[in-house]
Symmetry: C2
Subunit: 336 residues, 2 copies
């Protein structure tokens, strides 16, 4: 074990000086003589001294840690976001810890308690599909911990948010499909109490009206998105009297499920059915056919969320109604 864990007191004792002197020397305080600084740093180096961040945290009443709370770490959107956030945070001297709610509000609650106990410097979160209100997150605010929502937000908590323009995205999607000649456009989406899905549903319906379409196939899921959900949704839509000629999916996983089911049913894309989805996953370009998507700008979203959080941490202004919205970009490939 080589009882490392040398402290400044150990160094002080060895050098016959006070530990405050060591502390100052190690931080390059100019009031300490150059020779003493050299002596201390050399010895510290040799002994493998490393400052105890826990002690600093206690003393400073804060931790150099930013926590990320997401529904599912291994979904591409979130894992990419985590990676981006890690880079930004590490460069700014923060450590990033991650938590997944697994789409369950009660797990979110536990996570929030942990974050409060740990006195994290700030939190960036995207809520679970089963989260109906912001009461749990409000606890963070009441405790003085800055919070920024991204993508999926709680509108009843007064904090900065970073979202994509979901209404416009769906509207753009419907317009694009209409322009390409599709007239029976279905929408596979999530529960309307989550802003992301609600806004897209509004955009979808607005688009239908605007284009003068009367067909409306909208399927809403309560919980997680799996490949099988996309498949089931398609089956449901095909069971209707009038079948859709296009589906607009709120997630790449759903559209991938639809594509898989089409293959099994020998439905040709885009000849028989167009598939358009809001997505980020690079595999959207690799499946057959390559998917036309509405791409969320993940890097920009990550940067905005980070900036807003750091601002809140630095200024100590937590409550805010700063809402940052990013546009979505249409990437034309072969599925429409």
């Amino acid at each position: 074990m080589s009882s490392s864990r040398i402290t400044i007191k150990d160094i002080a004792r060895h050098l016959g000086v006070h530990h405050a002197t060591v502390s100052r020397a190690l931080r390059g305080d100019v009031r300490i003589s150059a020779s003493m600084r050299q002596l201390v740093t050399d010895y510290a180096q040799k002994q493998g001294y490393a400052v105890n961040q826990n002690a600093l945290n206690l003393r400073n009443m804060s931790r150099n840690e930013i926590a990320l709370v997401v529904p599912n770490i291994s979904h591409y959107t979130f894992s990419y976001f985590i990676g981006k956030m890690s880079d930004l945070a590490n460069n700014a001297g923060y450590v990033v810890s991650v938590f997944q709610s697994k789409e369950r509000a009660e797990i979110e609650k536990q996570i929030i308690d942990t974050l409060i106990k740990n006195r994290v410097a700030g939190v960036i979160a995207s809520i679970s599909k089963s989260t109906l209100d912001g009461i749990a997150f409000q606890k963070l605010i009441d405790f003085g911990i800055p919070l920024v929502f991204f993508d999926r937000v709680c509108s009843d908590v007064e904090v900065p948010t970073v979202t994509t323009d979901n209404f416009s995205a769906a509207l753009t999607g419907v317009r694009y499909l209409f322009q390409k000649g599709y007239r029976r456009i279905a929408h596979i989406t999530g529960p309307a109490h989550v802003n992301v899905f609600r806004d897209r549903q509004l955009g979808y319906r607005h688009g239908l009206r605007e284009c003068g379409l009367d067909y409306s196939g909208e399927i809403v899921f309560a919980q997680e998105f799996h490949l099988t959900d996309g498949q089931k949704a398609l089956d449901q839509l095909l069971a209707n009297a009038t079948k859709p000629d296009a589906v607009f999916c709120d997630s790449f996983v759903l559209s991938a499920g639809v594509v898989g089911r089409c293959k099994a049913l020998s439905i040709s894309i885009p000849a028989d059915l167009a598939v358009l989805s809001i997505a980020n996953d690079p595999f959207s370009a690799l499946i057959d056919p390559p998917q036309t998507i509405l791409e969320q700008p993940l890097d920009a979203i990550g940067q905005s969320a980070f900036d807003l959080l750091i601002k809140a941490i630095d200024t100590k202004v937590i409550r805010s109604n700063e809402h940052c919205t990013h546009p979505i970009r249409l990437i034309e490939r072969k599925s429409v």
Copy 2:
């Protein structure tokens, strides 16, 4: 801001008792009278008291944090692993922090310094492709911080490791391709100084010899795996005098790149070329054609790594040569 951040001293003052009493009451110490316990917990609850984990960390000389160090957070293998590890760790009362080396050894070094400063309870790591030795990781051991390697390991650091049986995987892959009638089997892999790729290269060559094959196409990459790397590798192989009739890829990203290139070149899979890869990504089943893969048991690997780390933390036995190897499973689909 509602200056929360109530401490036991605040509670003690309000209740006219000593803060040690409050501390004991809050933890349900039976030596404190039931009435006092009730009084304290009620008031603490009402005031939104939450124990300061930083103070506990300092006092206990350890932090309830497990750190994960991976080359790239957003690669499916790693993001899935992070998710799995998060669940296990959170259930055991730990917080998980994540760091990505971005395949760069110098970033790994910085990360390790941070981990030491933070006095994390333990570290689970998979090394970057540019890491040539374990000197940086040895610092953790010297500092008394338990370390477990998974997947990509440093053999010169004496700690527990969890890997897949890479040699057997490649051997199985070559045998399978041979059995299916392929005779010119190429291998797209990574730098041999990383155990994962070295072992697979050994298994590949062993398989060729065993099957009496003389064709050998082996392409090694120095750095990151991107889709374009798979494409480039295929081009290289096709430029050879004798073209391969099968490629064995060390990563799904590479095989996806190969598949994409085949599509562009109108090479039919598996008629003209078989593609077999070591993979986990669920999209391997969704691309066209669905990929035959050798699947790593990520859940089992995660569980083993976690168990080994907890054991090291609990027993304080850090140095160990416990090496846990998991078998790989062949999943037959349509690409061979």
